[in-house]
Amino acid sequence: MSLLTLFYLLIFPGLLFTAVLGLSVGWVDRKLSARFQFRVGPPFFQNFYDFIKLLGKETLIVRDSVQSLFIAAPLIAFAALVCISALIGVALFFGASFIGDLYVLMYLLMVYSVMVILGGSATGNVYSSIGAGREMKLLLADELAFILVCLVPIVKAGYEIRLSEILSAQQLGGAFIASPSGILAFLIALICIQAKMALPPFNIPEAETEIVEGPFMEYSGPPLAFWKLNHFMMYVFYPFLLILLFLGGFSAGGWGVLWFILKYLLIVVVMIIIKNTNPRVRIDTALHFFWNIAFPVSLVALILAVLGV
């Protein structure tokens, strides 16, 4: 492993960058949500304080749990998320990628959900196990539509399964969102990401007033801190992924940086608006939505993309 790879993984655009930006964007989320609800909202550093405070707290482990799995789950999920953010970031900012990296990305994204399921099941708590079950159903629901809409940019880039090819195709021929298939795929991807991040209306696995945070219920101290950090990191790389696949990526020259920040904030704000204007749906409603509505729409988007529209 070269020094540069380590830099990519640990500093930029990997661990440090994603974590710091994620916690900061977490503040945007909390502040904006608070303003939606006529509240004041937390100070900027609140998420940092929370994370550091949790690191210093005691870790309580349920006696009957599978202890190694219980502790390993948040860390493996964290490692997977660091890899994802490095993968997306490197493609986005440096144009470096390898053949089939989008596939690797898909697998890594699933690793997070699997770790939520394993971590939740490891405790033996009823709330956690129901939450893990719901996470599994939600994964089954959103995965198909999400994979299909991710195929749309691949098709539009001339059947190239490389993030850098997708980017350069957009830089030559304009962002994919400008086409009918692109905008359909973008909208479905946005909703799928809402489900993958377990934000309302799809915060079904964590449903506080039903199953008390579900899979995360028994977590405390540093493992909980990592789950929280994982959640905030997703606020960074999911919008980045959308920008990469549909919105034309990042260019350093001229207004490029400002334009990129604008695109990023736009996606985050749309996510927060969806989050604050919807009640939590039932798991069967979510399944129905993803299989009977999102799946056909994404299939149409894919067919349109194949037809070149």
């Binding site: 949500s33 939606f36 609800q37 006529f38 509240r39 009823v126 709330y127 196990s129 129901i130 079950g133 719901r134 309302p200 209306p201 915060n203 079904i204 449903a207 506080e208 007033t209 039903e210 199953i211 008390v212 604050n276 204007t277 919807n278 009640p279 939590r280 749906v281 039932r282 798991i283 069967d284 409603t285």
Partner: protein, 395 residues
């Protein structure tokens, strides 16, 4: 498929009060539900029997923080029933005014909580923001935001300042506009509808069988409302509708409450209008209560609240019995929660707007000498009735 037990309570984020529901689920489907109350017992009836009548009214106001004037109204009705005490016309309007204001604030509080329970925190915060002007009206009238201390045997304790009427009407206009907005939003939101329609249905038959009261019964098509059935205070002098819907699901319970807020606003307008013209005393001085018994009923926001008072001619009640609406509404879960998904069952639990501190006036003590079973509770109750009979008849 194996059955899992989901404990909701004694401490659970769903209901901020202490209660216990043991929900048995197969996968996510509720197959059975057990209820256990008694975590909030504070011995109010016993304390009340140590106090004078006036102090009792002050005490029962503390039974519940949300319907904090329903209990005093029912309680003064009970005491007035002993001696058939008449109250001045102005006091009747003031009582109705306070009671209806409380209905608005209680229903808004429920609406907010219901929003929170289905994960719609924005609705929660908005409903509670619009509840704030109601509390301001209370503050203008009584000086308190909660626990108004307005009821006295024979009338009310505090007059409504005639100069405050325009300000009160202005705030009421504000509330009406917001209510229309919320009702419209609830009616237009497809996600909200899909989440609440057809959920936790309490059929007309079950509502009657379980003796449900209040909005819970009215949403199932049972036209029961103490305000119309047995009008007291100014309820026979004002014009209002009893809201009844037929479906019995959570959506209809929401609709009933939202429409009731609007009806309450109508009643308050009429009361404020009358308070301009009707003058006179606000309380009949009651010097003593003769021996006898009386009952008081009042339509609290959650349904009928019932008070029973027995006097032996002294200044203290020798028996005070309270029956709160949640006590009969909570068992309806057996009918409405079986066979539905867990996510629906939990909003159904909240949909009757259960109030545990109202409900719980008896407790089963386990430990010490022997373990008491529920049959002992019946025995204890009968023994107590016997004791009261002996004190009355001196046998």
């Amino acid at each position: 498929m194996s059955t899992n037990q989901i404990p909701v309570g004694p401490f659970h984020p769903l209901l901020e009060e202490a209660e216990y529901f043991n929900i048995k689920v197969e996968g996510e489907t509720v197959v059975d539900i057990e209820m256990d109350i008694g975590w909030m017992h504070r011995g109010h009836e016993f304390i009340s029997e140590q106090k004078t009548f006036t102090q009792s009214i002050f005490l029962v106001e503390r039974i519940c923080g949300i319907c904090s004037t329903s209990h005093p109204i029912a309680c003064v009705h009970a005491v007035e029933d002993i001696d058939n005490i008449d109250i001045p016309l102005r006091a009747r309007y003031i009582r109705t005014l306070i009671g209806e204001l409380e209905r608005i604030h209680s229903h808004l509080l429920w609406l907010g909580l219901a929003g929170h329970f289905i994960g719609y925190d924005t609705l929660w915060m908005w409903a509670w923001k619009y509840r704030e002007p109601v509390l301001q009206m209370f503050e203008i009238i009584s000086g308190n935001r909660n626990h108004y201390g307005m009821m006295r045997v024979g009338g009310v304790a505090r007059d409504v300042d005639p100069d405050a009427l325009p300000a009160l009407l202005k705030i009421l206009d504000e509330i009406d506009a917001k209510m229309e907005m919320i009702a419209k939003a609830a009616n237009d939101d497809p996600v909200l509808k899909s989440r609440l329609k057809g959920v936790g249905v309490l059929s007309h038959r079950d509502a009657i069988d379980y003796c449900a009261v209040g909005p819970t019964a009215r949403a199932s098509g049972v036209k029961t409302d103490v305000r119309k059935d047995e009008p007291t205070d100014a309820y026979d002098l004002v014009d209002f509708e009893v809201i009844v819907t037929q479906a019995g699901d959570v959506y209809d319970k929401t609709v009933v409450r939202l429409l009731e807020i609007m009806e309450s606003s109508k009643i308050i307008r009429q009361c404020l209008e009358k308070l301009r013209s009707v003058s006179g005393p606000i309380v009949n001085n009651v010097k003593e209560i003769s021996p006898g018994e009386g009952i008081g009923r009042y339509e609290a926001p959650r349904g009928e609240v019932f008070h029973y008072m027995r006097s032996d001619g002294s200044n203290r009640p020798i028996r005070h019995k309270v029956r709160a609406p949640s006590f009969v509404n909570i068992p309806t879960f057996t009918a409405s929660c079986k066979g539905i998904p867990l996510a629906d069952a939990l909003i159904t639990l909240a949909s009757v707007d259960p109030c545990y501190c109202c409900t719980e006036r008896a407790i089963r003590v386990v430990g010490h000498a022997e373990q008491a079973e529920s049959i002992d509770l019946l025995r204890l109750s009968r023994e107590k009735t016997e004791r009261i009979r002996r004190t009355i008849h001196g046998a």
